[in-house]
Assembly symmetry: C2
Homo-oligomer: 470 residues x 2
């Protein structure tokens, strides 16, 4: 359906002797009436606390919801009920099965003359176990990766790499590699345990968890993140000049499989109901906080945006689909399952955007929409501009759960949130509802509502991203 | 010795027929040469990181040091060794015996449909025990104190009183009463357990502990403080409209007696070595953090101030005595023991000042010194002014461990620190060395050095506070 204009253009191209299909392909445009409606919708959203209240409901009533846990199951029921209460036209779930990881307890102490506790948290995917060993510090991942195999036999490897603060979260790339690749580097060096300075920008006794993985053929060792002040403390202790022995005791690990669900709500389009504009966030969270900025906010603000579009006197042409994805945290399981489940309906999807970078104000807009939809993208950007959002082509990337589908060719949009403070809270006990600014969240709802409405009201398609399959 | 000018004045008064002794009492003044030396001392102190390094040493090498714990004993040995390393002329300890309170573990969970963990910490002095009961919220202490006796039978009383932020920490008065009086009010109402919103101004998952007490004749119940975000969460849960049951499990309690020590170092005065200017902080801390702002900073900055005075080419007339007090946190045990041990030598003490309000910049100076020493106090204030310190007569009060001695009539000085952020960290895991600004700490060292040096170099005494005994 979506590709008909292209086929038509190709046919016309043959007839007319035009060689480049896109030269005659119909430009996607957004009608003036839709732009007027979007202005109203923006005002309505800015004055509404609906996104904030949905986020409050999820974080309060369910709290933390580690994928596969009892609370995760309650969160699925919550999301289904919430879509229904909000009057979504269709609400359903799709199963997502994954290995289940559990955290039961964790503690660490410096032993000997400087005996004192350390605050840490197991990395997701870590095995349990108790290690009592001397700590060897490395300033960064490269330093650990450079040591000889076996040279850390019976020690605990500790990477003290600092994370840089940035509005776009760009410091996370290097620090998340310390988390994902550090444990395997430690094992290759012979270490009996792995400690890292948290991938975080705060200075609180709040360790940052997050998923890690172990390279094939290695025997996993207990792996954990120290809070930033504890990493500083351990570094000062090591500078005293005598060996520092630490006892780390983790009770956690993989425990069979679990099935959770992507929870989906739709506001049916008026004239092209089979074409879908997809927005969403992820429903699961890590277990330490209540997953407020990661990612109840993303679920709450996209649920609210869909509801506000559904409340308009006239629905846009296309369907608005809101997805609360299962188990993003442990490997994009929900996004991968969605892409797989909808593989034969990829062409239904016009464009997709996930909110999964906190609850800060959106400051940039970008999309992978192709050339013939650039004018429409610019129209959307213009409608977002009064929200303080700049059009920043070429700077974005799809949200995590959108990425598997984007790789299959679905166009994505990216509404870039200010993440200056995001990594102060990310994956810590401090990720709680009180950290969310209701005005910033309303700005997010307004941006998603305007974007999704205009994409759903556009005349013409958003095509396929370059390299995508049909 | 210190009272000789007064006795002389009284004698002269009799002879001359003057009825009011102070009318002829000698004005205390600070010689110009001492003021010049103080200027040098101030510069030296501002350029020195000694106070910061001593604070680092205590918080790093010992860490948390709950009164009576093994770490507290290590802290006593550390303080004695540190005084000796710094070249103090005399170093000794004085025993302080007190009931020993221990914390072993603590946890809490909301039960039922909204099952989730809550972050809390037992109040010092709380008994252990597990309570599983419905929570009843009170907006403030007065509301709980107003309920009928027995009306909360089998429930958990929860006081959600917010603390106000203030530079002078004035919001702590009301919130510390919630901690000290709330548990007894809960017991009188029949409650089986007590929860309070932490006496803190932060919004982190950091519960604030602190000592509580139970009125005579009441049977203590498990009593704990929720972190501020957890208090908010519990309040939101209670607003859902159905009963909220919580399981709180505290393993803690009194366990016999312990003996710790006031650790004392002296820089001997040149001409009046038996007269003492006393400065200090307290050596013990709560167990959650490393007691950096409360009160390693106070110990570190006064140890450094004494050392810098000791390093001067010429010692002041009087002795500088630096005291690292034992067990301030659980009831001023060190200060009371000091006052008792030195009761027959009260007159030796010219003036005393304790630093126990963090590591923020000092902005105000005050003293209880009597009328005949006001000119000298003004001279000290003038020497402190270049540090950004205002003379604010009538606004201060003695530090906690000084107060028992001040009640006996020893004059006190108060160097008022900016406590705007103090109650973000106070009695939490977050009270760690990284929170201290080295420049602010150097300003504190400079202020204490200038004050103590000038008081020790003054010609004439600082008399006795009104109502003091001889």
């Amino acid at each position: 359906m979506r590709m008909m204009p292209l086929l038509l253009a190709l046919a016309l191209g043959s007839i007319c002797g035009v060689t480049h299909a896109q030269e005659v392909r119909r430009e996607t445009v957004i009608p003036a009436a839709a732009l007027d409606t979007a202005t109203q919708l923006r005002q309505t959203a800015l004055a509404s606390d609906l996104g904030y209240r949905i986020t409050e409901s999820l974080t309060t009533e369910i709290g933390p919801r580690l994928a596969g846990s009892e609370a995760d199951a309650r969160a699925v029921a919550w999301a289904k009920a919430k879509f229904e209460q909000l009057g979504y036209d269709k609400v359903w779930t799709e199963p997502v099965t994954f290995p289940k990881w559990e955290r039961r307890s964790e503690s660490a102490h410096v032993l000997g003359a400087n005996a004192q506790p350390l605050v840490l948290t197991a990395l997701g995917g870590s095995p349990g176990g108790t290690v009592e060993a001397e700590v060897v510090r490395f300033a960064d991942l490269a330093a650990l990766e450079a040591v000889a195999a076996g040279s850390l036999a019976g020690r605990i490897a500790f990477i003290d790499q600092k994370m840089e603060r940035a509005r776009d979260g760009s410091g996370y790339g290097a620090s998340s590699r310390v988390r994902s690749r550090g444990p395997s580097a430690a094992i290759r060096a012979g270490a009996a345990g792995y400690l890292m300075r948290s991938a975080g920008t705060d200075s609180h006794r709040m360790p940052h968890t997050g998923i890690t993985r172990f390279d094939d053929g290695l025997t996993p060792v207990p792996s954990a993140a120290l809070s930033v002040p504890d990493a500083d403390q351990l570094t000062r202790l090591l500078a005293l000049g005598h060996p520092i022995r630490v006892r780390m005791a983790l009770d956690c690990g993989w425990n069979g499989e679990a099935t959770s669900y992507n929870v989906i709500g739709e506001m049916t389009g008026s004239t092209l109901p089979d074409e879908v504009v997809l927005i969403g966030g992820h429903l699961d969270s890590w277990d330490a906080g209540t997953g407020a900025i990661d990612d109840a906010a993303g679920v709450g603000l996209t649920m609210a945006a869909g509801k506000l579009i559904g409340d308009l006197p006239t629905r846009p042409a296309r369907t608005i689909r809101v997805v609360a994805f299962a188990n993003e945290e442990q490997g994009l399981h929900g996004g991968i399952a969605y892409a797989k489940a909808h593989a034969d309906r990829i062409r239904q999807h016009q464009i997709a955007a996930e909110s999964d970078f906190g609850a800060g104000r959106i400051y940039g807009f970008d999309t992978s929409a192709p050339e013939h939809a650039k004018a429409a993208a610019a129209q959307i950007a213009q409608a977002l501009a009064p929200l303080g959002i700049a059009y920043t082509p070429g700077e974005g990337s799809p949200g995590p759960d959108i990425s598997p589908f984007a790789r299959d060719g679905v166009a994505w949009a990216n509404l870039r949130q200010d993440g200056t403070d995001y990594f102060d809270l990310h994956h810590t006990p401090d990720d709680t509802f009180d950290k969310i600014d209701p005005e910033a969240l309303a700005q997010n709802v307004a941006a998603y509502a305007v974007f999704a409405y205009l994409a759903a009201a556009a005349e013409g398609d958003f095509g396929r991203a370059a390299g995508g399959k049909d």
